[in-house]
C-alpha cells in the first residue's frame, strides 16, 4: 500500500501508522542511501584532491624557487667573473704603455728634468698611501634566505605546528 492509497483510505487524515510509513519510506529508500554514500565519498575525495593540490602547489613553488636560487647563484658567479674581467680590461686600457701611447697621440711629450718646475708649499706633506679598499667592508653572514615553510613538506609543516602547539600547552614559548 502506498502512502497515497493509505491517505485516500483514511479520507485524508494522518495517523501514526501513516507517519511511520512515511518515515520508514524515506529512511530506507535505497537510492537515497546510495546518494548519501556517494556524496560522502565525493566529499572525501574532494578533501584529498584539495590537500593534494595544495601540497602540489607548495611543492611546485618550492621547487621553482630552489631552481631559481641555483640559477641566480650561477648568475652571481658569472657577474662576479664579468666584473673581474671588466676591471682587468680597465687595467689594460690604463696600462703604462697604453697611457703613454694615448698621451703621445694627443700631442703630449715626456718632460726633461731641466723643464721641471717645483713650487715650494710650506707645510705640504704629500699622501704616501694608496687606499684601494673601502673602509671596513665586512663580509656579511648569510643564512637561509627562504623561511622554513618553503622548504618543508606539508607533513613536516603540520608536525612542526603540532610540536609548537604541544609546547604551548606545556607553557613553553614556540
Amino acid at each position: 500500500m502506498t502512502l497515497a492509497s493509505s491517505l485516500k483510505k483514511n479520507k485524508g487524515k494522518w495517523n501514526m501508522n501513516s507517519l511511520r510509513r512515511l518515515t520508514q519510506a524515506y529512511i530506507i529508500t535505497p537510492w537515497r542511501k546510495q546518494i548519501s554514500t556517494g556524496m560522502l565519498i565525493l566529499v572525501g575525495l574532494l578533501v584529498v584532491i584539495l590537500a593534494a593540490s595544495l601540497y602540489l602547489d607548495v611543492t611546485a613553488r618550492t621547487l621553482a624557487l630552489g631552481r631559481a636560487i641555483l640559477m641566480m647563484e650561477n648568475e652571481i658567479t658569472e657577474v662576479e667573473m664579468l666584473n673581474a674581467h671588466l676591471r682587468t680590461q680597465l687595467g689594460i686600457l690604463t696600462s703604462s704603455a697604453m697611457m703613454e701611447k694615448r698621451a703621445l697621440e694627443m700631442g703630449f711629450r715626456r718632460i726633461e728634468a731641466s723643464e721641471e718646475i717645483y713650487l715650494v708649499v710650506p707645510g705640504y706633506v704629500p699622501l704616501d698611501q694608496t687606499p684601494l679598499s673601502s673602509p671596513s667592508k665586512k663580509v656579511q653572514s648569510v643564512t637561509y634566505s627562504l623561511p622554513p615553510i618553503y622548504t618543508q613538506s606539508l607533513v613536516d609543516w603540520l608536525k612542526t605546528k603540532l610540536d609548537e602547539w604541544a609546547n604551548l600547552e606545556r607553557g613553553k614559548s614556540p
Binding site: T62, A84, R87, G91, Y118, P122, K137
Partner: protein, 598 residues
C-alpha cells in the same frame, strides 16, 4: 589432489626457498662488508646531491699607486656533453663546424672526438681551454634569435641550437697581466697543475701563492631543489699592493734594455730601493720573460743563461763596489780615518798572494778618500788586513753578505762568502775579498747592504709588498730593520767621502741638481780551473742620494759589457738617467728647492 600436483608444489617451494636463501645470504654478506658504511654513505650522498669546490678569484696585484699589474680575465672552456649529443641528427658535424668557425678548433679532430668518445661511459670531455670572451660573445650573439630576424632565420637558429645542445661553454677566471713584460721578474706567473689548479711560480705570485689563491670552499649542492640554500660567502684571495712604481719600473726597464744593447752586455740589472723603508721602488732584470707566454720559460732556461730574476737569483763577483764594505768596517772599527795616509807602491802581498792595482801602477801617498776615489785594490787590501780577518768577515756578515736578504720574492739566492773557519778559505782571501773578488753576491744583497750608508747605518729588510687587502680591509706592511752593521757617523763619513770622490773625478755618475754618492765596480770573471783569464768583466755602479737626506739607492750591474770593460765607463753613466726618472716620478725636488723648505 593428485600426486603430480604435489611434486610441482614441492619444486616451486624449493625454488622460492633457494631464491630467498640467496637473497638472505647476499644481505648477510653486505652486512658483514667492512666498507659497507662508506659505500652506502657515498651512494646516499650522490643520490642526494653533489659537492662543488669553488675556487675564489685569485687576488689582484697593484703597484704602489694602485695601478693594476695582475688581474683576472674571464675565459671559457669548450667541451662536449656526450649525453646531449644526437648521433643520428649529425650533431658532431654542426659542433665541429661551429668550433672551427668561432673558436678556431680543428674541424676533423672535434668531429672524430665527438663520434668516438674515449670510452663509452664518457659524459663530458673538454675540447679547448682559454677561449677568449669576445669569441664566445660573438658566437652567442650569432645564435641569439632577434626580433628583426626573418621567420626562416629564426627557424634556422632554433634548428642549429638543437644540434648544439652537446656543446658546453664553461666560464672560468684566468690570470692576466695588463703589461706582460712590465715587472715580470717581480710578479712571476701563474701556471696550472695537472688537475687544472692555478699555482704561482717565481716572484710574488709564488711567494704569496696561498694568500693570492684564497681558500677553496666546498659546497654541498642538493639534487632536491627544495633543499637548496644560499651559497656561503666565498672570501676572495688576498690582493697585494706592491712597493713598485709602475711608471718608474717602465722607465728603468727601458733604460736598462737600451744600456745593455749600447754596451754590448749579455745581461743587466737595475735595482732601486728606498733606504729608509727597504721598499723596492723598481727592479729591472734583462732579459725578461713575457709572462703571458710563461711556457717559454722552460725552453729559455734549457738554453742556459736565462735567470727569471737576476736581481735576486744571479750571483756574481761585484768587484770594487765591494770596497765600500771594507772601508765602512775599517772606519767603523776605528782602524782608519778618512785622513789616514797609505803609501801605495802598486802591489801588496796578502797570504802569499801578490795583489796589484787595476792599472798595475803605484799611486804614492793617498788618504782613504783617495784610495776610494782611485779604487786602489792594494790600499783596500791593506785596510782589510789592518781590520783583521775576524772583524772584516764579521762586518761583511753584518752587511748581509753570504745570507739572503729575506726579500719577499721567490727564488732568492744567498751568494758565497768563505769564512776563516771554512776549509776552502785561505789567508789570501782577505786581500781579494777586500775589493770584491773571490766573493759572490746578488744585486739585491749589494743594494740592501749599501742602503746602510744611506740610512744611518741601518739596513731595512728589502720588500716588494707594501700592503695587503684582505676581506676589504687594507693592512700596511711595517718596514723592519734587518741589521745595523755600522754607526750613523760611519755611514755619514763614508757617504761624504764617496760624494766628494765622484765630484773630484767629475764622474759620469753626477746628477744635475742633486748631490749624490757612489762607487763604481769592475769585477773580473773567473773561468773555472783557469782563474781570471777571460778578459770579461762585470761592470757595476752603486749610488745613492740626495746625500743630506737619501731617498734612493740605485744598484746597476751589466754582465760582460763589450764596448768597455770598466764600470766607470758603462755602468756609471746609467746612474744619472735612472736618478732623473726617480726624482721626476717620486717627486724628489732638486737640492736647492728641498733645502729652501727646510
Amino acid at each position: 589432489m593428485s600426486q603430480d600436483y604435489s611434486s610441482r608444489y614441492i619444486l616451486l617451494g624449493t625454488l622460492f626457498t633457494v631464491v630467498a636463501a640467496l637473497i638472505f645470504g647476499q644481505h648477510v654478506a653486505l652486512l658483514l662488508d667492512k666498507q659497507r658504511g662508506a659505500i652506502l654513505e657515498e651512494v646516499r650522498a650522490n643520490h642526494l646531491g653533489s659537492i662543488w669546490t669553488i675556487h675564489p678569484p685569485r687576488g689582484l696585484i697593484f703597484d704602489r699607486k694602485g695601478q693594476l699589474l695582475a688581474g683576472n680575465e674571464m675565459v671559457y672552456e669548450v667541451g662536449i656533453d656526450y649525453r646531449s649529443i644526437n648521433r643520428e641528427a649529425n650533431d658532431a658535424h654542426t659542433i665541429a663546424l661551429i668550433g672551427n668557425v668561432y673558436f678556431s678548433l680543428d674541424y676533423n679532430q672535434v668531429k672524430v672526438t665527438i663520434e668516438n668518445p674515449p670510452n663509452p661511459q664518457q659524459v663530458y670531455l673538454p675540447l679547448a681551454k682559454g677561449i677568449e670572451k669576445d669569441k664566445v660573445d660573438t658566437f652567442q650573439t650569432f645564435l641569439k634569435v632577434k626580433d628583426e630576424d626573418s621567420r626562416t632565420e629564426q627557424a634556422e637558429k632554433a634548428r642549429l641550437a638543437k644540434h648544439l645542445r652537446g656543446l658546453v661553454l664553461q666560464p672560468y677566471m684566468k690570470r692576466v697581466y695588463p703589461e706582460p713584460l712590465l715587472a715580470s721578474n717581480v710578479l712571476g706567473f701563474v701556471g696550472y697543475t695537472q688537475q687544472g689548479l692555478p699555482v704561482g711560480y717565481f716572484g710574488v705570485e709564488a711567494k704569496y701563492n696561498e694568500m693570492l689563491a684564497g681558500t677553496p670552499v666546498k659546497i654541498w649542492v642538493p639534487n632536491d631543489p627544495r633543499m637548496v640554500q644560499d651559497f656561503p660567502p666565498i672570501p676572495e684571495g688576498v690582493s697585494l699592493i706592491l712597493t713598485i712604481d709602475r711608471e718608474l719600473q717602465a722607465a728603468i726597464e727601458k733604460i736598462l734594455e737600451e744600456s745593455v744593447h749600447k754596451s754590448g752586455s749579455d745581461t743587466g740589472v737595475i735595482v732601486v730601493l728606498d733606504p729608509k723603508t727597504g721598499e723596492v721602488l723598481a727592479m729591472a732584470s734583462y732579459p725578461r720573460l713575457d709572462i703571458s707566454r710563461y711556457w717559454d720559460y722552460e725552453s729559455l732556461s734549457q738554453r742556459g743563461q736565462f735567470v727569471f730574476n737576476r736581481a735576486i737569483s744571479a750571483m756574481y763577483e761585484p768587484g770594487s763596489v765591494f770596497k765600500i764594505f771594507t772601508m765602512a768596517g775599517a772606519l767603523d772599527k776605528g782602524v782608519v780615518t778618512e785622513d789616514t795616509i797609505y803609501l801605495d807602491k802598486g802591489a801588496i802581498e796578502v797570504g802569499g798572494l801578490v795583489i796589484y792595482n787595476w792599472d798595475r801602477a803605484g799611486h804614492g801617498k793617498q788618504t782613504m778618500q783617495g784610495c776610494m776615489q782611485l779604487s786602489l785594490n792594494v790600499c783596500l787590501a791593506w785596510v782589510a788586513t789592518q781590520l783583521g780577518a775576524a772583524d772584516f768577515y764579521a762586518y761583511l756578515q753584518a752587511f748581509g753578505i753570504g745570507h739572503t736578504t729575506g726579500i719577499d720574492l721567490d727564488g732568492e739566492r744567498a751568494g758565497i762568502l768563505k769564512l776563516p773557519q771554512d776549509q776552502l778559505w785561505s789567508e789570501s782571501e782577505i786581500g781579494t775579498n777586500s775589493f770584491g773578488q773571490g766573493v759572490s753576491a746578488t744585486p739585491i744583497q749589494m743594494a740592501a747592504a749599501i742602503s746602510a750608508l744611506a740610512n744611518d747605518g741601518k739596513i731595512m729588510r728589502p720588500h716588494v709588498v707594501r700592503a695587503i687587502i684582505k676581506d676589504g680591509e687594507q693592512f700596511m706592511i711595517t718596514p723592519s730593520v734587518s741589521s745595523i752593521p755600522i754607526s750613523a757617523k760611519t755611514a755619514h763619513t763614508l757617504t761624504e767621502m764617496l760624494a766628494r770622490s765622484l765630484e773630484a773625478e767629475a764622474s759620469a755618475a753626477l746628477v744635475d741638481g742633486y748631490r749624490v754618492a757612489g762607487k763604481t765596480g769592475t769585477g773580473e770573471i773567473a773561468i773555472p780551473g783557469l782563474g781570471y783569464t777571460s778578459g770579461e768583466t762585470n761592470a757595476s755602479f752603486a749610488g745613492w742620494g740626495p746625500v743630506d737626506d737619501p731617498r734612493f739607492v740605485v744598484y746597476i750591474w751589466l754582465e760582460k759589457p763589450s764596448t768597455s770593460i770598466w764600470g766607470s765607463e758603462v755602468a756609471a753613466p746609467i746612474f744619472p738617467k735612472v736618478v732623473e726618472q726617480i726624482t721626476l716620478l717620486m717627486n724628489i725636488p732638486p737640492d736647492r728647492y728641498r733645502k729652501a723648505t727646510q
